[in-house]
Symmetry: C2
Subunit: 371 residues, 2 copies
């Protein structure tokens, strides 16, 4: 299934796709509830959409990555519309003097993996079955397109009040800083169109098949749920047996939420989640910066960014974004090896622990499990 | 002299022009010391520059207003270069797909009135003898070009690190907010190119002859200084007799600085200056927000924004920006009626006391003097 990169997504695939993207997001990527609403509306209005196989992207195309940017809790209150996103694309096209040929998700997440599908349906634009993170990260310079040499500039940002900003900067971290300030000035949430790039470069740096992977994860998990078996076990089985390349996946912890203290500033949500296993007495803590970054059990590190750490509700099996975890909620913490493209030295310089001020070298989740 | 709007500015005019622009600035407009340096270097390198008579601006021209934006104290530490300003123009030209035909100062001030001259010399661009404020104000939406119906967007902002931002917004206050956030993200100071407008519109809204007025003020004041007579009296005499239209001008107060508490945040400098007359025991207080906004003597209001309130060093006769006033310094506070174009109901809605959260109706300085 993993190889099927030309993927048709219709109303019947909605639940599977949303479920899977939320699992991949490591606690970020936007609220899956919003993602479901937006994709459902778009599918109802325009019908199904076939995701383009990345291999079919033409070298000369202009490809852009896009998504909602900002502090996730703010998005819940005033989510910017597809109209704002369409305006951001139009602004960038005018600025570049060129039409966009295809769009791709900036990140894999319950909201941001599907926003491009809804926009592609509305504008009739090809949507590539890929993304720029393979999970979610809090910053624009953390996309593979930047890690592997692409330029995020010019980036267009727009809000629902028809304001827009085009940011240009020589390095992607400066661009992230300037773009972030624009998002804050727009009220903490906005739509961004970034990394205008050739199709040729896109194919060197993209994480391919994201939507197929999400749909597959959703399919095995929801089937397991339906059969009253454990969806996480089904996902782990999928990654051990069916996915290619295979990726290490494991249940890291199970317990009840003991503490959850998210702090939202204008730009991000940060904090810590503590989960207690009342049988063993062990405590698992997660630190997050929009996304979960590090998991420790009684102080011992068991997973580290860029590997994926996702909290799921034990009853429903649904992935929870970092801001949506509730006190006393019974949860399972799921760990998944990051795609290899995020584990290279170049990538770890941008998305490894130290990029998040965690003073640890990166150790793969499978190595930590063996220790 | 007031009518001479085609004005040649050479090295011999430097002191007069800088002196006059600083007087007009109401305590803002950038540091005249920086303005002098920048203009001197440009004149030394490129020779004299003839300021264009606003009447000669062609209807179809693309005119832009420009200047440094940010908290004045930050400018002293890291003033952005003309290179950043040239980059902002180039960015805007690329975005608009059109070359700029002439430039004009955003505001009258010791720095910002002369920055366009230096840039015009470097780029060989016509510089119009006019400005968009007739004084200095802290915000972009306070230009006559905005007050009288012009659109500030798109505005280009650039810094010395080759970063740039193009801001678009339907209303000028939103644009100011978004542009300000970019300036803050750039470190608190940047160069802006704003109000791209037709020559036809420019002529309806510009404040004409700014540099001639500044040169004339400087000329009479420096001549008086040379003759050991009072430069402020000379300026007052100029406005009573020679300037056309005549404008009310007066010495509001003389004394020593008792208190000066400027607070610089990322964007602005705000605070209060108190001056004591040790003979009469009276105290004059000025509130400022980059520029002086209101002058009170023992609590009685004697001048109100948009009328001009400028503090001068009593010994040197030089105008002091709000951040440059020193404790115990002997100063004279000079008041000057704003140009009529700033005193209309439309203008007062943007630059009257209430626009600065001062809960008073505007009363002209000459009326306050009669009361």
């Amino acid at each position: 299934m993993w190889f099927q990169r030309e993927l048709r997504i219709g109303p019947g695939d909605l639940n599977e796709v949303i479920y899977g993207t939320a699992i991949l997001a490591s606690g970020g990527g936007g609220d899956p509830y919003l993602g479901r609403l937006i994709l459902m509306q778009a599918l109802q209005k325009h019908g199904a959409k076939t995701m383009l196989d990345p291999a079919k992207v033409k070298d000369r195309w202009l490809v852009v990555a896009l998504g909602a940017v900002g502090a996730p809790p703010i998005a819940l209150e005033k989510f910017p519309s597809l109209t704002a996103l369409a305006a951001a694309i139009a602004t960038l096209e005018r600025h570049l003097g060129r039409k966009v040929d295809a769009i791709v998700a900036a990140e894999a997440g319950g909201l941001n993996a599907v926003v491009p599908i809804a926009l592609g349906l509305r504008l009739g634009l090809p949507v590539i079955n890929a993304d720029g993170m393979g999970r979610a990260f809090p910053k624009n310079d953390m996309m593979t397109f930047g890690i592997y040499g692409g330029r995020a500039a010019p980036t267009a940002i727009a809000d629902d009040h028809m304001s827009s900003v085009i940011v240009d900067a020589d390095d992607n971290r400066t661009l992230e800083r300037l773009a972030r300030s624009a998002v804050i000035a727009m009220g903490g949430i906005a739509m961004a169109v970034t990394y205008p790039m050739s199709g040729k470069f896109f194919k060197t740096a993209a994480i391919r098949g994201t939507l197929t992977l999400a749909r597959d994860i959703g399919r095995v998990a929801l089937a397991a749920n339906h059969q009253k078996s454990d969806p996480i076990d089904a996902i782990i089985g999928y990654f051990r047996k069916q996915a290619s390349p295979r990726r290490y996946a494991a249940k890291l912890f199970t317990g009840a939420v003991l503490r959850h203290a998210p702090k939202t500033d204008e730009a991000f949500v940060r904090g810590e989640i503590a989960v207690e296993n009342r049988d063993s007495g062990e405590i698992c803590t997660l630190e997050f910066h929009n996304e979960n970054l590090i998991a420790r059990i009684d102080g011992r590190v068991v997973a580290l960014v860029p590997d994926i750490i996702t909290v799921l509700d034990e009853d429903t099996g649904e992935a929870l974004t970092t801001e949506n975890v509730r006190f006393n909620q019974r949860v399972t913490i799921f760990g998944l090896a990051a795609p290899e493209i995020l584990r290279t030295p170049e990538a770890l310089a941008h998305v490894g622990p130290r990029a998040f001020d965690i003073d640890l070298d990166y150790t793969p989740i499978e190595t930590l499990a063996d220790a």
